[in-house]
């Protein structure tokens, strides 16, 4: 049964997690954006801040409601926590008999995610499918994912670029959490409805100053998610989308978007599911020790598709087409799921405001006149 935690007691949750040895990561406001960082106390959270998002636009504004989680998703995603942007894989030492490979140990850590949204929980599940449940699990990613406590937060607002309702990934977290919070902000009564999703979650909840929720509170929390879903201004029609994209690789819309796309790769960096990586081999100056580093890579770079003689995808048109068709179509063939969770980050952080929902809808449609 759900329980209720007073907003003034939210810090008890942070301390309960820290007390169990978790490094608590969550949203904090920094440099004009809400990013993910260590949360040591509830007061570290971006209290009273809302994000105003649109294509190529992101601003924080202060409100009087004092809510802890009135914003939606920012430029960071939990991808950086588990599928880290840069990591060394191994060192190699040269000696008389050749060389020896010294692998870097898989990291061990207990991490609590405070404030993961439904779309982000889906994004983590998609990366798990690729990086843990495939034929070749990534041992470092798997280690980082092995001891994670998830505190979900059900969104009380739809962000300006959100479309999770179309992708079936939100706004309400249905599973994949230990605890799920719905923030109820009423004059003089600020509290959280807390749903328990696991035994670990129940154990943590038992340490908190909670009381059982009454039916009105359960109903109020449900209507928060309903209102958020209804307020979502964007949608993507996914029926037949995969086939439509794969059948229209020569559609003129690709030329059209190529005139706007800068191939900067922002969309791939902020995307919570994009998983492509590059490897860099380096040596020390003496040439005795070498190492290999893995880092995030974007399919928008020229080097991404390099083979001897040049890049397979030298035009921006081909690179945008690769990204979009992979995300919304090829992903189904490869991993049995869409690669998009409707978080809207790629729309917000695109410097020219290209909207994946508009582009996907236009590909395959008859060309407009004029």
């Amino acid at each position: 049964m759900p329980v209720v935690l007073a907003a003034a007691d939210l810090d008890a949750l942070v301390q309960a997690l820290a007390g169990r040895g978790y490094r608590v990561l969550g949203p904090v406001a920094r440099d004009g954006a809400i990013v993910i960082d260590d949360v040591r106390r509830a007061a570290d959270l971006p209290i009273g801040l809302e994000d105003v998002q649109g294509p190529g636009r992101y601003r924080l504004e202060r409100r009087e409601h004092g809510a802890f989680f009135a914003f939606t998703v920012g430029p960071h995603s939990w991808k950086q926590t588990f599928h880290v942007p840069v990591e060394r894989l191994f060192q190699i030492r040269r000696h008389k008999e050749g060389f020896s490979v010294i692998p870097d140990e898989a990291p061990r850590q207990r991490i609590a995610l405070l404030g993961a949204r439904a779309c982000e929980i889906h994004a983590i599940a998609i990366q798990d499918r690729i990086l843990i449940h495939g034929e070749h699990p990534d041992p470092r990613y798997a280690a980082r994912r092995s001891d994670v406590f998830v505190v979900a937060v059900n969104c009380m607002r739809a962000g300006g670029t959100c479309f999770c309702a179309s992708m079936g990934t939100g706004p309400r977290a249905e599973r994949g959490f230990d605890l799920a919070l719905t923030e109820l902000v009423e004059p003089g009564d600020h509290r959280f409805l807390v749903e328990i999703g696991s035994d670990d979650g129940a154990a943590v909840a038992a340490e908190l100053p909670v009381r059982p929720a009454n039916p009105e509170e359960i109903g109020a929390a449900a209507s928060v998610s309903e209102r958020t879903a209804a307020a979502m201004g964007r949608r993507l029609d996914t029926s037949g989308l995969k086939e439509r994209l794969q059948k229209n690789l020569e559609h003129p819309r690709w030329d059209d978007v190529a005139t706007r796309c800068l191939a900067c790769g922002n969309c791939t960096m902020v995307c919570p599911t994009c998983f492509c990586t590059e490897f860099e081999d380096t040596t020390d100056l003496a040439g005795e020790t070498a190492e290999r580093t893995k880092r995030w890579e974007s399919c928008f770079t020229l080097g991404f598709s390099h083979v001897h003689g040049g890049s397979v995808r030298s035009s921006i048109k081909a690179r945008y087409r690769q990204w979009l068709t992979h995300k919304l179509a090829g992903w189904h063939d490869q991993f049995g799921t869409s690669g998009c969770v409707g978080c809207g980050r790629c729309i917000t952080w695109c410097p020219v405001g290209i909207d994946i929902t508009e582009e996907a809808a236009a590909v395959g449609l008859p060309e407009k006149d004029g």
Partner: protein, 279 residues
Amino acid sequence: MNVSSAPDPMLPEPLRITRAKREMHGVFTFELDVSARGGFPFLPGQFNMLYPFGAGESAISISGDPHQPDRLEHTIRAVGAVTRALERLGRGDVVGVRGPFGSAWPIREAEGSDLVVIAGGIGLAPLRPVVYHALRRREAFGKVALLYGTRTPDDILYRKEIERWRGRLDVEVEVTVDTAGSDWRGNTGVVTKLISRAAFDPGRAFAMICGPEIMMRFCARELERLGVSLDRIWITMERNMRCGIGLCGHCQFGPSFVCKDGPVYRYDRVQDLLLVREV
């Protein structure tokens, strides 16, 4: 969650070069010592990632005999930083190896059929294991033909072996070059022209092709014209393969990863994509 205890496929294994042979200008073959690891089993068509110390990795097909897993061979053309670093190595030096990765030529499926092997330039290297297999299990196949096209008579890869195969009475071997001096008595022109002259039954043939994309497309078209079913034509694709295990994303080709779903593909499954530029 379980963390797999299987060996990390991202870690290169140091193997010593026991033989380094210059094949022709800028092309060389390494034989690697795999005795300490009990051989290196692979399927024809598969590749390894080769690592010269500190320089990076390159995907190189295995070009040796699949029936001799104690000898691991790669034929390499020096075209980039990594392959040029490999070229500087010789007997006794050590290279890092990861693999084998990727799909294989359908040699079992092709048994009982005529076999047409068509190679262009260094594309013979990934097909040489098929030729070795077919010659060892000659009785399992109908007619066997090797059709090879290359730029000039100086660019004939594995020339001595081709001449030896050509001396056999149970294999048809045809070579053609794009350009040649007046001392060349062989065929000139594209390899496609050899197909209709080769003795095989299109109704019961398997074709395996490796070369530039355009050459493979024209060969497939010619084979189709002669009556070979497209689902019995196999080609091999080249993309930027970096991890070899479908995780880094670089080698995507339509909905597939060339390193994992390829490099060997059944032609009818990719023919539409081959017609789209920059996929």
